[in-house]
């Protein structure tokens, strides 16, 4: 348990030193938002209905970048090989890395969401706890499978390409439901309808997390 925590803290510390991943994540996320703002600027009535999709595209983008970064750090001096030699279940490495990427992604999401509020002229208040719930569940699902796939991608030559290529199709069910849920919250406020997408998201998250946790070891051994 404290090993998971140690890995998480180490990633935090590196990020604190370099500010690398988070800046990259925010930058690309904001570019996506701004570009949409440009494209949709003239069509005011359409904006609110497009926001959930745009938001999650920005999240997914920045999340992919973050995952890539988090494993690139491990690759530089063969650090991953150091991690693989620790006397503990390798699942701890998975959970530590997942926790770290989840944390970064949630921070990025918070900032991007605020940016979206400003850019698209939205106001939210009561929706916030619901949104948080959706963001957290979606992010857990995203990083659950994303961490496993990064570990696959990091060992290949095509590293930075392979990750999104694998991740986006896999993550689509979660992404679609997250968009749906966000749309319900922002545009219909019929919270009863949230049940279906949230259930689906949670189900996928749990399935993905379990499979990934179990299979992580297989992916890293050479």
């Amino acid at each position: 348990m404290h090993k998971i925590w140690a890995i998480f803290r180490k990633d935090l510390l590196i990020e604190f030193r370099t500010k690398d991943s988070l800046t990259a994540m925010l930058f690309f996320g904001i570019v996506v938002l701004v570009v949409f703002n440009f494209a949709l600027g003239s069509l005011h009535q359409a904006v609110r209905s497009a926001v959930p999709g745009v938001l999650w595209v920005a999240f997914a983008f920045s999340g992919t970048l973050g995952l890539n970064r988090l494993f690139a750090v491990e690759k530089e001096n063969g650090c991953l090989q150091g991690l693989l030699m620790i006397p503990a279940d390798r699942g701890a490495v998975y959970l530590g890395k997942m926790l770290a990427s989840c944390f970064f992604m949630l921070i990025a999401e918070a900032v991007l969401f605020i940016a979206a509020l400003v850019l698209f002229n939205l106001t939210v208040r009561n929706e916030i706890p619901w949104l948080m719930l959706v963001f957290v569940v979606g992010t857990l699902g995203f990083t659950a499978v994303g961490t496993l796939l990064s570990a696959i991608a990091v060992n290949t030559r095509l590293r930075e390409v392979l990750l999104p290529l694998m991740l986006f199709p896999v993550i689509l069910p979660i992404l679609i439901n997250a968009v749906e849920a966000t749309d319900i919250i922002l545009n219909s406020a019929d919270y009863g309808a949230l049940k279906l997408p949230l259930t689906v998201m949670s189900a996928f998250t749990i399935i993905f997390a379990t499979i990934s946790y179990l299979l992580f070891e297989r992916v890293l051994e050479e």
Partner: protein, 229 residues
């Protein structure tokens, strides 16, 4: 199975395939009645839907063999996983080609991002990614286990393709087989085509599987040769 029995089985399957295909073609193009509103266009149905079902069956095969490989670590299961993934992509490409051909006259567009279509496309992409993973690992052992892991994960997404249609309104029609909407007069042709596609799948699967195991064998033999030098 001995080599000879294998050979016989291949011949048998080949004959079955030829007969089945001929019959299915006849049924689909001539035997089945012409649909009222869409006319002959509807005959695409006899290729479109069986291809989709066979493709899903191929991906299911991939899932099962990946799982078994992860448990048993036998390279034969990896070969089977590879063969079925390739065939799944092949059959889904058929869906993705026949679908738009049908869609253009019926919906007046080649493509829309409806859930069913998006899901089919994504499913295809998943297995393209699977092939990419296979390509980017050189070590055969690692390739096998990593791609098996991905095969398992990819198939978790597959149900989405089937169920997506129920969760969202979709331009793509409901699976009338389940709702019982298919006119009884069209059923024989449909089942004939489905059968033919499944035989085709089995036949190709066997050939591809044999090819892959032979490749593995040749690699092993070459290694032994190197060792002896």
């Amino acid at each position: 199975m001995s080599g000879k029995a294998q050979y016989r089985l291949d011949i048998l399957l080949g004959i079955l395939l030829f007969a089945g295909m001929s019959f299915a073609l006849y049924m689909a193009l001539i035997g089945a009645p012409t649909e009222r509103t869409m006319g002959d266009l509807q005959r695409i149905f006899y290729f479109h839907v069986p291809a989709a079902i066979t493709g899903l069956a191929a991906f299911a095969t991939n899932f099962v063999s990946s799982l078994v490989f992860l448990l048993r670590k036998n390279r034969r299961w990896d070969a089977l996983a590879l063969a079925s993934a390739e065939l799944g992509i092949l059959f889904f490409c058929m869906v993705l080609v026949t679908g738009p051909i049908w869609a253009k006259p019926v919906w007046f567009v080649w493509w829309t991002w409806s859930p069913r279509l998006t899901a089919s496309f994504i499913l295809c992409l998943l297995y393209v990614a699977y092939m990419l993973i296979r390509k980017s690992y050189e070590d055969p052992e690692r390739k096998a286990s990593v791609s098996a892991v991905f095969g398992v994960i990819a198939f978790v997404d597959a149900p989405l393709v089937w169920f997506s249609i129920r969760w969202w309104r979709d331009i793509h029609p409901s699976p009338m087989l389940e709702t019982g909407g298919l006119d009884p007069s069209m059923r024989p042709a449909f089942y004939a085509c489905l059968g033919a596609f499944l035989i085709l799948f089995l036949y190709l699967l066997r050939r591809r599987f044999c090819l892959e195991t032979m490749r593995n064998k040749v690699d092993g033999l070459l290694l032994r040769l190197d060792e002896m030098r």
